[in-house]
Symmetry: C2
C-alpha cells in the first residue's frame, strides 16, 4: 500500500479496532467468543473480513480451495512448522477462528491491527511490512498426523487414512530439526518481508498456544518472457516443475491435487495433502560434474529443459524411446525416467534456499524446499520409492527434513479455517 493508501486504511482500521475491542478480540488478540465468528459478522457487518478487491497484487483468500496451491508460484516463501501447546479441542478450534480474519487482513496487505496504540501496549502488528503492498501473499494452513495423536483433541476418528508420516526412503538422512509438526503455515509472497511478516504475526497472535518447530525461508526466481512466466530453475540450473499439472485446468487439478468427495475424510474435500522435504543440494560436487552427466542425471537437457534427445521443454518425456543400439535415450537411472515410470503425478511447488554455509564442511547450506501438493501423499511416496536407491540424483542431494500436512479446503465467507473438521464433533 502507498502512504496515501496506508492513511486511508489506518482510518478504517481505527474503527475496526473499536469494533474488535467490543468483541474481545482487541485485548487478547485471540478471543473470538464461543458464539463463533458468524455472530461477529452478523453483528458488525461483513466488511472487515472481505477480500479487498481494490488492493493491487492481491491473491483472493476466500474460495473453494485455499490459496498458495493453485496460485501462481511467488518469489518468496516463509514456511513454518508449529507444535500445538493448547490442550483442548475448543482452544484448537479458537486458534483457527482467530487466525481467519488475520489471514484475510494480511492477504489484503493490511496491518492486522491499528498501529496508533496509546503506546503503553505492544503494537498489534509487528509493523515491518508497513508501506509494502500485498505482494501476492498467499497463506496456506495444514495439520500434521501428530495432531491427531494428541488424544486431548478427540480428533482420532477424524484422521484421514492418507495422513500419515512418510515411510523411510533409502538415502534419507532426516534431522529432527526439520521434520514433522502439528500445524504448518505456508506464506508465499513476491516479497520476503511480507512472507515473513505473515508467519511472524500469526504465530505471535497465537503466543502460548503454538511454538515454532522448524521454519525455512526460500525463493523462486521466475524468468518472464513476453510477460509469460517460465518454469523456474533450481540451484542445479534445471527447470523444476515442467511436468506439473496445469493449475488452471480443473480436470488436471481434480485428478491430481484436490481431494474429491468420498476420496478422503469429508472435511478434506476440496483440500489437498502437502509433502515438504528439505533437500540439501551438494553444489560443489554438482559443479564438478560434466554437463552430459548432469543431463543424464535429470534425464533432461539443462538449457532447454527438454527431455534428452528432444528440443522443447514441453515435449513428451516418452521414456520408452531407444537409440539404434537399443539403449534407452533417457537413462533408466535418471530422475525423470524413474519419476515417469510410475503412474503418479504431483503438483510441485518448490523453492530454493541458501542459508549460509555448513559449519562442519564449509560447503553451502543450500538446496530445495521441495513442496508438493497431491490428493494423497501416496502419489509422492510412489514416485519417491521409484527413485529409490538407483536415482542418479541421490549422489548430489541429501534429504534432511520431511513433513506431511493435510491442507484444509478453502474458506467461505462467514466460515473459518478448518471449520469442517470441527463442526461435526
Amino acid at each position: 500500500m502507498t502512504e496515501t493508501k496506508g492513511e486511508k486504511i489506518l482510518d478504517k482500521k481505527f474503527s475496526r479496532r473499536q469494533m474488535l475491542k467490543m468483541t474481545g478480540l482487541g485485548a487478547a488478540g485471540v478471543a473470538i467468543g464461543a458464539t463463533g465468528l458468524g455472530g461477529v459478522i452478523k453483528t458488525f457487518g461483513m466488511d472487515f473480513l472481505d477480500d479487498d478487491s481494490t488492493v493491487t497484487n492481491k491473491v483472493t483468500f476466500y474460495g473453494k480451495h485455499q490459496s498458495g496451491i493453485a496460485t501462481d508460484v511467488q518469489k518468496n516463501i516463509y514456511f513454518a512448522s508449529l507444535i500445538v501447546l493448547v490442550k483442548s479441542k475448543q482452544e484448537l478450534q479458537e486458534l483457527f477462528k482467530m487466525w481467519t480474519p488475520l489471514a484475510v487482513r494480511l492477504m489484503n496487505g493490511e496491518m492486522i491491527g491499528d498501529s496508533m496504540t496509546n503506546g503503553m501496549i505492544p503494537p498489534k502488528d509487528t509493523g515491518e511490512a508497513k508501506g509494502l503492498d500485498a505482494a501476492n501473499l498467499s497463506i496456506t494452513f495444514g495439520i500434521g498426523p501428530s495432531l491427531f495423536e494428541k488424544k486431548e483433541f478427540g480428533l482420532t476418528s477424524k484422521k484421514p487414512a492418507q495422513l500419515k508420516d512418510l515411510p523411510h526412503f533409502p538415502k534419507d538422512q532426516l534431522d529432527d530439526t526439520y521434520t514433522g509438526g502439528d500445524i504448518c503455515i505456508q506464506a508465499c509472497a513476491d516479497d520476503p518481508q511480507v512472507a515473513f511478516h505473515a508467519v511472524r504475526n500469526l504465530v505471535r497472535a497465537a503466543s502460548g498456544k503454538v511454538s515454532l518447530k522448524w521454519s525455512q525461508a526460500g525463493f523462486n526466481s521466475v524468468p518472464v518472457v513476453n510477460n509469460k512466466k517460465q518454469t523456474p530453475r533450481n540451484l542445479f540450473a534445471f527447470k523444476d516443475g515442467t511436468e506439473n499439472p496445469i493449475t488452471s485446468s480443473q480436470k488436471d487439478m481434480n485428478e491430481v491435487v484436490w481431494v474429491q468427495s468420498g476420496e478422503s475424510k469429508n472435511w478434506m474435500t476440496d483440500g489437498s495433502y502437502l509433502v515438504a522435504r528439505r533437500i540439501q543440494m551438494h553444489l560443489e560436487t554438482w559443479d564438478r560434474t560434466a554437463l552430459k552427466e548432469q543431463e543424464n542425471t535429470f534425464g533432461r537437457h539443462r538449457d532447454s529443459g527438454a527431455p534428452i534427445g528432444k528440443k522443447d521443454e514441453f515435449e513428451a518425456m516418452d521414456i520408452d524411446r531407444k537409440d539404434d543400439k537399443g539403449n534407452f535415450v533417457v537413462p533408466e537411472t535418471s530422475h525423470a525416467f524413474l519419476a515417469k515410470s510410475v503412474d503418479a503425478r504431483i503438483l510441485r511447488r518448490a523453492f530454493s534456499y541458501s542459508s549460509g554455509i555448513m559449519d562442519s564442511t564449509g560447503s553451502y547450506d543450500a538446496g530445495l524446499l521441495f513442496l508438493s501438493f497431491q490428493k494423497n501423499p501416496d502419489q509422492f511416496t510412489k514416485i519417491q520409492n521409484s527413485l529409490g536407491r538407483i536415482d542418479k540424483l541421490n549422489e548430489y542431494i541429501t534429504h534432511r527434513g520431511s513433513a506431511v500436512f493435510a491442507c484444509f479446503p478453502g474458506i467461505q465467507k462467514g466460515s473459518y479455517i478448518g471449520e469442517a473438521l470441527f463442526k461435526t464433533l
Copy 2:
C-alpha cells in the same frame, strides 16, 4: 534477459569462448597469463569486457568507485567472506585479474561462459540465473586485515592504518562462524538467485584458491511511493538509514564514504571501508514491548520514522531538545541519541535476514546483516562506543558476527580489481 536476448548473447558468447580458449582462460577458467589483462584487451579488442549498455536493470561495473556502495540498495544480498588459500603475491593478483571480466559479465546479466559445452566437462556457468536479467546486480570486493598478516604475500607495508579488527564492544557475543575473512564479495541484486549465482560462480572459478569462511543471505523490502523509494524498515519495523549521507551528493560521499587522496594508503583512494556485523534481533522480546518503549529505544517514532516529538522522518534529530520539565525529549539512552551524540557519520547499507530458528531456543534466527561504508572504520567504532553499554537497543539485539574490509576503488577499463595494491610492489 529474455529467451530471445539469451539466444543473442549465446551467439556472442560462442565467439567469446573461442577467444578465451586462445588466452588460456577457457580451460582452467582462471589462467589469465602473467602478461596481464591489458595484453589480452589489446590483442582481442575491448568489447568482451564492456559494460553492456543495452541490458535492462543494469548497474555499471566500471567507474571511479566500486558498485554496491553508492548504488541504490537492492532487494537481496548474498554476502560471502573468504579465506585465501594461495601462497604467493602473484597468485593473489591473478585471482583478482581472473575475477574482473567475470564480474563484468555477471553484472551484464550474462553467463560467465558458453553453456553449449561438448558435455564432457562441467559447464562454465552454474546456470541457475539463465533467463533472469541483470537484476541490478552489484559486486563489491574487499580485503580484510588478516590478508596482510599472511607474510607470503609481502603486503605488510601496504596495510592501511585504518584496516584493523574492530575492538571488542560491550555486549559483543561474537561467534567465529560469522567473523573475519581475508576477502569479501558483496553481491546485491533485485533477485536472490542472481545474487547467489554471482558469489557461487566467482568462488567456483577460484576453486582451490579460496574457501568460504562465512556467508549470509539477506533482503531489503523497499516501499515505493509515487515511484520514489522510501527508507526500508528493519525487522523491528523501524526505518533503517534515515540519517544516511545522500548517495547522489558528491560532497556527502567524499566527506563520509570515499577515501580521499592522502587519507589512507594510496591504493585505497576512492575506495571505502566496509564494516559487517551480523546482529541477531530478539523478535519475541521486542514483540512483547510497548510501542512507547520501542520508540524510546530507537529515539524515533515507529510509523513515521520521525525523531521523537516530530512529525517527519527527515526532520533534524536535534538531541538537545528538552521538555518543559527539563528532560530530554529524545531519551539519552536511545539508539539515535547516542549515535547522534558523537561527531561521526557512516553510510548504512543493511539487509534483514530470517534463517529459520535457533535450535536451542526455538526462537527466530533473524536479524540484521548490518553493513556500513565509511572512509575510516573509526567512524563506526566511535558510534558503536557511544552506544556502548547504555544503548537501550542492547536489550533486544546480540552482535554475533563481525568483520572489516578495505573495499578497493573502482575499476577502469583495461585495469583489474585491486590493481593499485599490486602494481607498485
